[in-house]
C-alpha cells in the first residue's frame, strides 16, 4: 500500500487500518464483461440490488478501478486482456471470479479455448460458485470481500508482486507473444 504520509503522527498500523477501511467502502469495479456472468451484473447495478449502496460503481478504465470482476469463463484471448487490465490497475486491487468456470472450467472442462483455473494466471481473492451466480450471491461476495479487506486477508495484489515470476511464467505458457 501507499507509504504513510505522516509517520510521526499516525502509527503505521493505524495507517494501514485507515487505508483498509477506506478501500473497502469505495470499491470501484472495472467495466469489463469477460463472460456470461456479466448478464447478472445489470440487475446488481440497478434498482433491485443496487450495489452503489456499498460504494461500488462501474468505472470505464482500469486506471481508476480497484476491483476486477472476471465474470465467467476465460478464453485464452481474453486472458491476455485480463492480465493487461489487471496490471494497469493501481494497488491495492482485488479480483472476484464468477461462476464455476474460472474455478475448474465448469461446463467447458473439455473446451480447447477455455483456461480452466484462473488462479494459475492471476491471484483471485474471492470465488462465487454457481452457473450463473445469482445477484444475491454476488452481493454476498462483495460483502465478504469487504470483510476480508478489513481483516487484511484480501492480499492477492501482494501475492502477485511476490510471485510475479511464477505468474508470468504460467501466463507465457498460454500466450505466444506478449506484445500487440
Amino acid at each position: 500500500m501507499n507509504e504513510n504520509p505522516l509517520p510521526s503522527i499516525i502509527p503505521d498500523k493505524e495507517w494501514k487500518k485507515i487505508q483498509r477501511m477506506l478501500s473497502k467502502r469505495s470499491l470501484w469495479m472495472i467495466h469489463f464483461c469477460t463472460g456470461c456472468g456479466a448478464m447478472e451484473m445489470p440487475p446488481v447495478m440497478t434498482s433491485r440490488y443496487d450495489m452503489e449502496r456499498f460504494g461500488i460503481i462501474p468505472m470505464a478504465t482500469p486506471r481508476q478501478a480497484d476491483l476486477l470482476l472476471v465474470t465467467g469463463y476465460v478464453a485464452t484471448k481474453t486472458l491476455k486482456r485480463i492480465v493487461r487490465v489487471y496490471e494497469q490497475m493501481q494497488d491495492p486491487k482485488y479480483v472476484i471470479a464468477f461462476g464455476s468456470c474460472p474455478i475448474n472450467g465448469g461446463i467447458y472442462w473439455d473446451s480447447y479455448n477455455i483456461i480452466k483455473r484462473l488462479d494459475k494466471y492471476i491471484p483471485v481473492d474471492m470465488y462465487i460458485a454457481g452457473c450463473m451466480p445469482r445477484p444475491e450471491a454476488i452481493m454476498d461476495a462483495f460483502l465478504k470481500l469487504m470483510k476480508d479487506i478489513d481483516e487484511g486477508k484480501a492480499n492477492g495484489w501482494m501475492r502477485y508482486r511476490k510471485y510475479y515470476d511464477q505468474y508470468r511464467r504460467n501466463q507465457m505458457r498460454i500466450f505466444k507473444r506478449w506484445d500487440e
Binding site: T76, K77, Y112, R117, D119, P123, R159, Y163, N170, I174
Partner: protein, 165 residues
C-alpha cells in the same frame, strides 16, 4: 420463381429435408464446385437474396469437406441448401464474397476452424482464435480433451511455499 423450377433449369437433383416445428419447405442439392457460383447467381436473381449461412461439415470417413450454402427467399418462402464437396487433403475453393458480403466472415471462420482455403479472400487468417498452435480445431480428428489437458492442466499451480492444497 419456385426453387423446384430453378433446380430443374439448372439440371440439379434435390431432396426435401424433414421439417417439424417450422413450416416452410427446405430443399437440399449437391452441386459441383465449379457450377456453384453460377447456381447461386441464378438463385439470387430469382428472389433468393437472403444468404442465411455457410456451414462446413467434416466427413472424415469419406475424406471430404462439405460446404453448405444456405439461401432463403422472402418472396417464395423457400429454403435452399446448396452443398459442394471438397477433398479433405488440401481443401481449396474460391471466395464468393462478391455475391453476399457476409460470406467473407463465414469463410474466415471456416478457414480458421477447418483449414479450408478460399482463394481471393484476403482477410483469411487469425479471426477468432489467437496464438493457435494445433490443427484447426473443428476438424473431427482434433481431440479437444487431449489438447485441453496438454495445454491447460499441465500449467503448474503457483507455489507459495508452505500452504498446499
Amino acid at each position: 420463381m419456385k426453387a423446384e423450377q430453378i433446380f430443374k433449369e439448372l439440371g440439379l437433383e434435390f431432396e426435401k429435408l424433414k421439417v417439424k416445428g417450422n413450416t416452410l419447405p427446405r430443399y437440399k442439392a449437391e452441386v459441383k464446385p465449379e457450377k456453384l457460383e453460377e447456381a447461386i447467381i441464378k438463385f439470387k436473381s430469382n428472389g433468393f437474396n437472403h444468404f442465411v449461412a455457410l456451414s462446413c461439415i467434416d466427413w472424415i470417413k469419406d475424406e471430404k469437406f462439405e460446404l453448405v450454402y444456405h439461401l432463403f427467399s422472402y418472396k417464395e418462402k423457400e429454403d435452399v441448401f446448396l452443398s459442394i464437396f471438397l477433398p479433405r487433403k488440401e481443401p481449396k475453393y474460391k471466395t464468393l464474397r462478391h455475391l453476399f458480403p457476409q460470406i467473407e466472415t463465414y469463410e474466415r471462420e471456416i478457414h480458421e476452424m477447418f483449414g479450408v482455403e478460399f482463394e481471393g479472400n484476403d482477410r483469411l487468417g487469425e479471426f477468432i482464435l489467437e496464438d493457435w498452435d494445433d490443427m484447426p480445431p473443428m476438424r473431427k480428428d482434433f481431440d479437444t480433451v487431449a489438447y485441453a489437458k496438454k495445454k491447460y492442466e499441465s500449467v503448474p499451480l503457483i507455489d507459495e511455499g508452505g500452504e498446499k492444497e
